[in-house]
């Protein structure tokens, strides 16, 4: 159930309504939109007296819908969420969030060189895996804590914010201190223990869609983070697993408008993992921007063919320059900027 109230409704009225509907096993959420206030209720609301509430001063409408999630729900929070990273970076507004960098941090030289190049091209965030979730235990698992130090050095030199994936709950405190945007990988999208703990931080979380997660399961995973108190969730569509083998995954481009309809959270696109093919990053990026994605995360490597992981889907810095140039006119056409 959703109760819509006039923007100027008094706190005393809201408190009175909340008192009336309070009940164990029922979750109440309160939000302010640009043109109204909202009280949302998760759980059975059969015994709530609609007549009494509808007569209260300020109540515009009572909507009887059963919603499974609330903090991530557009109905409970009509305005877009805009996450502020620092004075010059916000996510979810007119500006596109461009994250770029290698799949894995491999060396100081590598990460610094790539960081400089992608900064020049227009990226404001540096990605780079330090703990790598690899299908095989015998594959390169990342430089780990040493890699994190290299990322920090690259940040110091370039001013780029750093984005990297967390693999273990043991690293939460360290990540909270050192990392600007904490990434949850596809394989951990339903690692609820991890999600709950990240929910206790005050840090932006980049939540990648699981390999075969439905839109609803994905929003529910966001809800796990948000229900613990952290509202700063950025969703990332990275392709889903289908029968088609011509691409590594199938970019589910429809997910962007769907998420925009169902949720107020920002959503960005990872064309690198979606395609798994270098030359395809450019066209997919154009489609993502045109359809309204709030940003892109693109794998760039200074020597893709020698990359320790995901070389086939990494673009060169020169290709990255071209991609940025190619998406600009489309961004402009729909009223956004880089």
């Amino acid at each position: 159930m959703i109760i819509k109230l006039e923007k100027e409704t008094k706190e005393s009225v809201i408190d009175a309504i909340k008192k009336m509907i309070e009940k164990e096993e029922r979750i109440i959420v309160e939000n302010e939109a640009s043109d109204c206030k909202i009280i949302g209720i998760i759980g059975d609301s059969k015994d709530i007296d609609r007549n009494v509430i509808s007569c209260m001063k300020g109540v515009i409408d009572i909507i009887d819908e059963t919603e499974k999630y609330k903090r991530a729900n557009r109905k409970f929070h009509p305005d877009d969420t805009i996450i502020s990273i620092d004075e010059e970076r916000t996510v979810g507004g007119d500006n596109l969030m461009i994250i770029s960098g290698p799949c894995a941090v491999e060396s100081e030289e590598q990460i610094i060189e790539i960081a400089k190049r992608v900064k020049n091209a227009g990226a404001k965030y540096l990605r780079g895996g330090v703990f790598k979730p690899r299908t095989s235990p015998y594959d390169f698992q990342g430089l780990q804590y040493e890699g994190l130090e290299l990322l920090k050095k690259a940040r110091e030199i370039t001013g780029l914010k750093i984005v990297t994936e967390i693999m273990s709950t043991d690293d939460i405190e360290l990540y909270e201190k050192e990392v600007d945007v904490i990434q949850v990988g596809s394989r951990n999208m339903q690692n609820f223990d991890l999600l709950k703990r990240l929910g206790k931080l005050n840090k932006p979380i980049l939540l990648k869609r699981g390999l075969s997660a439905t839109i609803e399961e994905w929003l529910m995973a966001a809800e796990y983070i948000m229900s613990e108190g952290n509202p700063n969730v950025i969703l990332c569509e990275r392709g889903i697993r289908t029968y088609e083998t011509a691409t590594r995954n199938t970019l589910d481009i429809s997910a962007i408008p769907l998420i925009k309809k169902m949720s107020h959270l920002p959503i960005i696109v990872d064309p690198s993992h979606a395609a798994g093919i270098r030359w395809m990053i450019e066209p997919l990026s154009k489609a993502a921007v045109a359809i309204g994605a709030d940003g892109l995360i693109i794998e760039v490597h200074n020597n893709p063919d020698k990359a320790l992981s995901d070389g086939a889907q990494s673009v060169t810095p020169d290709m990255f320059d071209t991609i940025i140039e190619d998406i600009k006119p489309i961004a402009t056409a729909i009223g956004r900027s880089l």
Copy 2:
């Protein structure tokens, strides 16, 4: 095997090469590109003497690749195919092919009204099912021959070209005479008997991707048509079947750049069947144009909620006007026009 020759290579040389490589069970195809001539060979080419051929006047290169299809293959036909419908309509060039109209032709009034509206908005082709492939034998199967007459009337009045699906090989002669673009539906993508017969016509064929066809199977289906002599195939991506149920199908947006890489054939997008949800047609259309699709086929109904089929995914004429307005700046941004 592919033999590239200089543009001015003499016919006598080409004939000599062809004679050398001729063999039963081997298929030879000859093509002219903007900057070269090409001789392609399907089938075992182990016993062809590369040394002799490479010495012949005009031969630039011999590429030893095993290709499974040839007439639809970009390697055998480097330039984009541009299909000419009439003096003012081509498919595959700078102009987008905009096809619009109801899922099914329901009445004279309905089809004429919609045809006028979509023409005004900018469509140059009218779609409308007359033989409808319905999952259930008890659902509305279309107005059939009567419906075709109504389509013809709408064409007469508006000048729009008509696009409609063929269901039976018995109707091929009739369709050849009366229909401008013959559509092969998803369910018949591998109805090889139908494909072969359509290959004997000199008509554009709109070949929809099968519900779970791979890119390769789809191109092979095009090859069935082309190998019988009809080169006028327009591919149509309309969503694939995946586990996700939030949309009717999953639009495989990556199919567009993939097809453009692998084939020279034009490819358009059907956002209506891909999404199955009215409000989603607009964002998907924008993505399709941005990524380089050669056109769109959109279901429009003057009274979607009363439509005899697919009402939920049909837009109103007003919504269609908006879609056209919204895709224009994106088309312009990438150098195309409606």
Copy 3:
């Protein structure tokens, strides 16, 4: 709506009921079960007066369910359908229908040799493709009419009934005359023109499940055949398309109990196409028999590595002997025989 009546209900009562419920756009079906009679109604039944009907002599129950299909529906036909092929062959009863033979008929010698071997092992039906639906137009398309003659010769010599796929509506009369069980392949499961015409025959139709057909779509395809008058449909589960690439397709073993619950039609399993791997035919056959499939269709080739198609999934005659020996104790354990 379903009306259940006592077994001995008089024809005059049934006629009276049918008269009462008759209406254009409403489909009525009448069936006799082992312990009752049934009148089923497809279509809107809101205006039928339940009180009047429930008072009529013999009426046991009126069930208000909206069913999408009727002739294939277990609710309208509670007893298993048993299709009689000849005096010694029935499909759907205690006996398992064992169909075996090569993917494609290749020569007289080949088909006769295989036919003898599979007959000895216990098969009662010979399969062999003569018109082959191949992904590529350049692959072997079958011996066509010549192949059919060879199948007939093999039948003459061994007494096995022949099962072969139809590709074109033009061949319907010929198949009706010459073939014992007409197969509709996966790619044509929703070739509604073909299905409707096969519905006018009085021949068993082996309807393979489409590559990504849902259970409901498959039963609806059967309904297309049955609604034209031919009740002799045998379903065949042959694996569905999923993301898993370790097998050619994924055998949907759950389809067997599901079909048994939803329909009265016999269902057999094709482990060869499901697995696409020779050694896997044996274990999949055991699972299929254990779960209650009414038969198996298995590809056998006397020289699988030289087979013109599907060699990798064809077993040798010796392996087929073993499969038959291995499934016998399981068949016995669940009260069935070969």
Copy 4:
């Protein structure tokens, strides 16, 4: 590369071989099979001198295959792994491992009653979730530590071994002490941090297949556990995510023979999560036993319609009795027992 040696090959020879092939970045594994000894090598083996090795006393064969995993690999370990739980329970041999119990532990009364019933029917293990991975944070999350105490009480009373899912690495010590078989759920199949830590225990791990994991990814997940030193992995097929919605998931029955071919690890089947439909557990169990699964894990609830989770797929104790009776003759037919 795999080196096969005679059973009686001397340790000194083996040591000599190992010394010859030792190299950083190369992983060597040694195994004893019933009829030979095996040295397996993961990683590049190009520079190993085959001639020298093949001359050494005892070497039967050198097989040049590139394997991605080794400890879980049948090629490196030809005999079936049989995991010994206690004197009367082994997994992977002739006896089927029957695990049964409620989806979630709900109360002392509930778990004790169910435990007694399933023990009577023939189960030797009790399942019961105490930390529940639920899609929504607002759904019942399990009785947690209190639930574990109830499981222990049920074990004390019935003698059944307990199987329950772990959600957090923080609970590893507790689970090591208190739980007999630790379950890793589908959502955590690639939670590599968790897998690595479970690899340091000496406890059987029940590793469920991820929702859309390939067979190879699944074996690699097992390898993560095994590469840390714990060889006691039991795989569990529980259905994969496909387009088909008639069942909750699609039981991939082919996974059982595939795993048996590729690995020596035991594999059991979870028909409850695969089907998601109560009446389907029985037929799926029969297929699983017939195809060679090493056991079953079945959800049983004394009052399924009131179950706090997964009621729709839980069978009653009476239905469980029937399932056990129905699978016995099939087990007997293939030479296995309960």
